[in-house]
């Protein structure tokens, strides 16, 4: 304060900021990136440790031996599922009841804003004809087909050079083929309806105040049968034990995450996403923790764990520690992001491998989509993670008993919990399964990047200020002179139009694609999903063309004043502050997203001005726009997974990701799409506006 109230010292500081601005900005940006890269090295990354006392020291002995039973259940389930073509609800009910659970079902239906092309949904049409939709059917452009390799399948790659079996071969790397048949669908594809089945194991002599959840999401394809088998076998084993203090809910959901979301909303009796579902008949108190299981083979080579949830939420680190404890105890091979754990952290190899895992985690967390059905539990403050069984070409395999024992151990320790998991970290990054970076250590990286924006804004503010002072008093008399109201008024008025127009563009980007899909499908030969994506891109691109038309009448007035630069400077100042504010808020809630956007958007934002090499700036600005960031992230992500993309595939994946982003916003309440369209895209347009200021 003393520094600021003393005019002499303030001027000295101002001069420092002005003169050293460029080097300071560069330094700050480099420091931010370097800090982030340094996170994988041991002083910054720490070994994980169990904080929760109730789960740490107590010993449990796993007795699960129902491997054969699990396989038998899985076979039966798969057979019944094949026969009925949907989730065999009656069979599940019967089986759950026979192992002694209290069984309930819940039916739900959800009208999607537009058809989901990545998942085959068994749809009850208007004529009540359930039937699987042919995947490579006659609808849509060719780029529909590779959507099959969506972000949900990434766990299929593991280790250094192992390419697992999974969605890749099924439809992923085909050449895009253009199909010309575009008849309207004979049934209402957008209505998804299904039934969840859940059984409650009531803890003996307890009052049903707390519960744990084991959930298996079942999609429309025939995966996850083994997970259902293991769930049932575990239920049978757990039912015979006397030691349970918390109820255990065994949940099998239909339509993957849609079912999970429907169940969670009904359990908490809220309606967040416009899901229609029947109310739940049975409840079991407050859910303390949940584990989602995905298994599609009788044997597994490794277990992959997914922690990233909706909007980048993470479960308490203790839950992951618990999983890791039982991985070690059972000698299981456990992976994170499909990557094995580096052993040697002292040399450079370990940290470099850790960096890959860390980047993968950052990309996944930044996407804000739930990576597994556990991601939806996090909204309700239920700590949850997803375990995926991976079956690759590795020699040593584990059977279901090993997986079952790990799960049994986890549930028994969770059963010991006295309080909700709260002791350990909620905000962390993971370079490996046994290493973490806490929030205190990774935040400076984002802080340094945002400092660039702050410095630039300060420079602009001072320049604006000096320009005013310079105009009025050429001698530069000392003293904090307040800028005169009329000159400021003109400056602000010229900002209103670009701000409003860019925000309106954002709003259009948010609203129009879904609203206008029917108009688009009527007038153009496209399907709904394509219509949405193409409208998105069209509006996005239209935003770039706008500024040439908008500020011309205003710029005349600005030019007429004595300082011609003041218009764009004021606009850039506002844009910088707006961007810094947004990125700061995002980095606090979802560090990965904030950091990723800051890394890309900050340099272009700092450089944008209507002088100098404009084409270069424009190219840079386009390359760092939110959409380009998404495209780049896709390439980086596949590169890190050692499954590089060609340009065409990348483009198709990009289109798929756009559609998925919009869809997930509507179905699960993912915030990435509104954030980009309502917040960052308008802000980015402001910089575009600055660049083409006349």
């Amino acid at each position: 304060m003393g520094l600021l109230s003393d005019p002499v010292r303030r001027r000295a500081l101002a001069r420092l900021v002005l003169r050293l601005n460029a080097p300071l900005c560069v330094l700050s940006y480099v420091a931010g990136i370097a800090w982030f890269l340094a996170l994988v090295f041991p002083p910054l990354t720490q070994r994980t440790y169990m904080s929760e006392n109730a789960m740490g020291s107590t010993m449990v002995e796993e007795q699960f031996a129902g491997g054969d039973r699990a396989r038998a259940f899985a076979r039966d389930f798969a057979a019944h599922r094949k026969k009925s073509g949907a989730l065999p609800v009656a069979w599940l009910e019967r089986t759950m009841r026979s192992v002694g659970l209290e069984v309930y079902t819940q039916s739900f239906s959800r009208k999607l804003p537009f058809p989901d092309e990545t998942h085959e949904r068994y749809v009850l049409g208007e004529w009540g004809v359930p039937g699987p939709r042919a995947h490579l059917g006659g609808r849509g452009l060719g780029w529909v087909s590779p959507w099959r390799v969506s972000w949900g399948q990434e766990a299929q790659w593991e280790g250094k050079s192992l390419v697992g079996i999974g969605g890749l071969e099924k439809g992923g790397l085909q050449r895009p083929t253009t199909v010309t048949l575009r008849s309207p669908p004979p049934y209402c594809i957008q209505m998804v309806s299904g039934t969840n089945v859940y059984g409650i194991l009531r803890a003996p002599r307890a009052a049903s105040t707390e519960s744990l959840v084991l959930t298996v999401p079942c999609g429309s394809d025939s995966t996850n049968s083994q997970a259902v088998g293991l769930l049932l076998a575990l239920a049978a084993h757990f039912r015979g034990q006397i030691y349970w203090a918390k109820d255990i809910i065994f949940l099998v959901t239909e339509h993957d995450l849609l079912g999970t979301e429907a169940w969670l909303e009904a359990y908490h009796d809220v309606n967040v996403t416009g899901m229609q579902s029947s109310p739940l008949q049975g409840r079991a108190g407050a859910i303390q923790a949940a584990v989602a299981l995905e298994l599609s083979s009788d044997v597994v080579t490794s277990l992959d764990v997914a922690v990233e949830g909706l909007n980048g939420q993470l479960p308490n680190l203790d839950l992951l520690n618990l999983f890791q404890t039982f991985c070690q105890k059972g000698g299981l091979l456990c992976t994170l992001q499909g990557k094995l754990q580096p052993q040697d952290w002292t040399s450079l190899d370990g940290p470099l491998q850790g960096l890959q895992t860390l980047l993968l985690m950052v990309l996944r967390q930044a996407s804000g989509r739930p990576h597994g059905s556990h991601g939806l539990f996090l909204r309700y403050r239920v700590e949850a993670l997803t375990l995926r069984g991976i079956n690759s070409f590795r020699q040593y395999k584990y059977d279901l008993v090993a997986v079952g024992k790990a799960l049994e151990g986890m549930f028994r320790k969770l059963n010991h919990l006295l309080e909700r998991l709260h002791q350990s970290f909620f905000l962390y990054l993971l370079p490996a399964l046994s290493r973490f970076v806490s929030i205190g250590l990774y935040m400076p990286a984002a802080g340094f990047l945002l400092l660039v924006l702050g410095l630039k804004a300060l420079e602009l503010w001072m320049q604006l200020h000096e320009a005013e002072v310079g105009v009025e008093e050429p001698g530069g008399a000392p003293g904090p002179s307040v800028p005169l109201p009329p000159s400021q008024g003109v400056g602000l008025a010229s900002l209103v139009a670009p701000l409003l127009i860019s925000q309106a563009m954002g709003l259009a980007l948010y609203v129009l694609p879904v609203l206008g899909q029917h108009v688009a499908t009527q007038h153009f030969p496209v399907a709904e999903a394509e219509a949405v994506v193409l409208t998105l891109l069209a509006i996005y691109a239209a935003g770039l063309a706008l500024p040439h038309n908008t500020h011309r009448p205003l710029s005349c007035r600005v030019v007429s004043t004595q300082a011609p630069d003041r218009g764009w400077m004021a606009l850039k100042l506002v844009a910088l502050i707006y961007l810094a504010l947004q990125l700061g808020c995002i980095a606090l809630t979802n560090f990965s997203l904030g950091f990723l956007l800051a890394t890309t958007m900050v340099p272009a934002a700092a450089l944008a001005k209507p002088h100098g090499p404009r084409t270069l700036y424009a190219a840079l600005l386009v390359l760092t726009s939110p959409a380009a960031t998404l495209l780049g992230s896709l390439f980086l992500w596949r590169e890190l997974q050692e499954a590089p993309l060609s340009l065409a595939e990348g483009w198709q994946l990009f289109l798929a990701a756009l559609a998925q982003g919009v869809l997930e916003h509507h179905t699960y309440g993912a915030l990435l799409f509104p954030l980009l369209s309502l917040g960052l895209y308008p802000c980015w347009l402001l910089f575009w506006n600055v660049l083409f200021w006349k």
Partner: protein, 476 residues
């Protein structure tokens, strides 16, 4: 709904209904009985009842003053042997003889349901109620689980349940009986076989349905002397299928809805599964003060329509003094689900008011439902003193109804909880920030600014000006 109720010590200060007062009840008497009810799921329920009466010199003075009526509930109490041992010591024969030899802690706590109660009340000794006796009634109900205790087998015996058999009656007992529910679930043939075959049976209407009980009287010397012990065995003639258990006419469920730590909603679902009879239910809710109820959000809906309660009594909470009390009389339409919901806001407690395990959550006591449920079979009014003790658990008012009191499950609600490792740091940090901000703002606000003309004098300045002149720069 079927959750194990915490031990509730219910002190009935009120006299029972007039019909309960006998002219001359037996004095210093002990009646004990055990009711075994095999359930179609393969589980078996066992209910012990012990009733002791003794004379008292206390005189009854008119009607009880309702002002002194108290209701308290402890929503969280895990029953264990510490509850059982003192309870057993109240029995005249302790656990030495009679039915109480079966009360072995390791078996009783190997069950899926456990409920233990002590009721004490005065009983009139004559019609004008000039002198009274005290009645102590102890009940213990357990449900043995086919999956946990029975290891999948559904045939039971006393030995399998309690790892003991009956050898002798309690010498102090005036009545000591074991009742086994042998009601046929199907009309055509017997479903259950008991061994040894009972000498007598007893028929009555319990909970609105007709029941048949086999009676084993321990005071009947022939009963035990034949084999020196009595080990009643139950055998299902046709193993019961895995089907959903029959649903009672009235059941209820309670839960907290919503997420986040600011607001929430308490919802109680009341199920009336009777196909054609509607009946009223008295719902009593006590909610701790730290859930601030919004009474205007109280909604009661049945079958999609608003259900207006015929009586509401609400006593608002006072912070740290008294909980909310909400009592309503609601008519439940036939075959319907009634949802009673009320929104609340979670209060922020003072930091010393949190329990040692605040992240566990705070318990909210169960709602209490009292109802007269219509019977399927009309019951005849019975003589309370002559009929078995379990009959009075579900008193029948006029033959077409029976009285039921239900407790819903207690709730666990999370309150906004500070991180208790942090307060010190947070307080220090905030105080520093406030002090720094306040200090400098105060400084700025109280200081008067005036422009100071640069002084002409000063050696340093003169020197500097000399240099500047040499450089050709305007002087300072």
């Amino acid at each position: 709904m079927a959750a194990a109720m915490p031990l509730a010590l219910l002190v009935l200060l009120l006299l029972g209904r007039r019909g309960w007062c006998l002219a001359e009840p037996p004095r210093d008497s002990l009646r004990e009985e055990l009711v075994i009810t095999p359930l179609p799921s393969g589980d078996v329920a066992a209910t012990f009842q012990f009733r002791t009466r003794w004379d008292s010199e206390l005189q009854r003075e008119g009607d009880t003053d309702h002002y002194f009526l108290r209701y308290a509930v402890l929503p969280r109490e895990v029953v264990c042997t510490e509850n059982l041992t003192p309870w057993k010591k109240l029995l005249p024969c302790s656990s030495k003889a009679g039915l109480s030899v079966l009360l072995k802690a390791d078996r009783l706590f190997h069950t899926s349901y456990h409920s233990q109660a002590v009721h004490i009340r005065p009983v009139c000794r004559n019609a004008r109620c000039t002198s009274i006796s005290w009645e102590l009634r102890q009940t213990l109900s357990v449900v043995f689980d086919a999956f946990i205790t029975g290891q999948g087998k559904k045939d039971w015996s006393l030995f399998r349940m309690f790892s003991r058999t009956l050898t002798e009656p309690c010498p102090l007992a005036s009545e000591s009986r074991v009742y086994v529910d042998i009601t046929n679930y199907n009309q055509d043939n017997e479903t259950l076989e008991v061994n040894p075959p009972p000498t007598t049976t007893y028929q009555d209407v319990i909970l609105g349905t007709r029941k048949i009980y086999a009676i084993y009287d321990l005071l009947d010397t022939a009963m035990i002397n034949n084999s020196r012990n009595l080990n009643i065995q139950l055998k299902w003639k046709r193993p019961p299928e895995n089907e959903a258990p029959p649903v009672p006419f009235l059941h209820a469920q309670r839960y907290v809805s919503g997420y986040g730590l600011q607001k929430g909603e308490l919802s109680t679902l009341l199920y009336n599964t009777h196909p054609y009879r509607a009946f009223p239910v008295l719902l009593l809710d006590t909610v701790p003060w730290y859930l601030r109820l919004y009474v205007h959000t109280l909604t009661i809906t049945s079958k999609g329509k608003e259900n207006k309660p015929s009586y509401i009594h609400y006593q608002p909470a006072q912070d740290r003094l008294q909980p909310h009390l909400l009592e309503m009389l609601i008519q439940l339409p036939a075959n319907s689900v009634t949802k009673v919901s009320i929104q609340f806001e979670r209060a922020l407690l003072k930091w010393t008011e949190y329990t040692p395990d605040p992240n566990h959550g705070f318990y909210v006591s169960p709602s209490v439902l009292s109802a007269l449920v219509p019977s399927v079979v009309a019951a005849k009014p019975v003589d309370w003193e002559e009929s078995p003790l379990f009959n009075s658990l579900f008193p029948v008012s006029d033959g077409s109804n029976y009285f039921v009191r239900l407790y819903t499950e207690p709730l666990l609600v999370n309150l906004p909880t500070p991180d208790f490792s942090m307060p010190y740091n947070v307080i220090c940090l905030t105080c520093t920030v406030v002090a720094v901000c306040y200090g400098s703002f105060y400084n700025l606000l109280t200081r008067t600014f005036h422009i100071e003309e640069p002084r002409t004098g000063g050696l340093a300045k003169r020197l500097a000006n000399l240099i500047r002149r040499a450089r050709g720069v305007p002087p300072l």
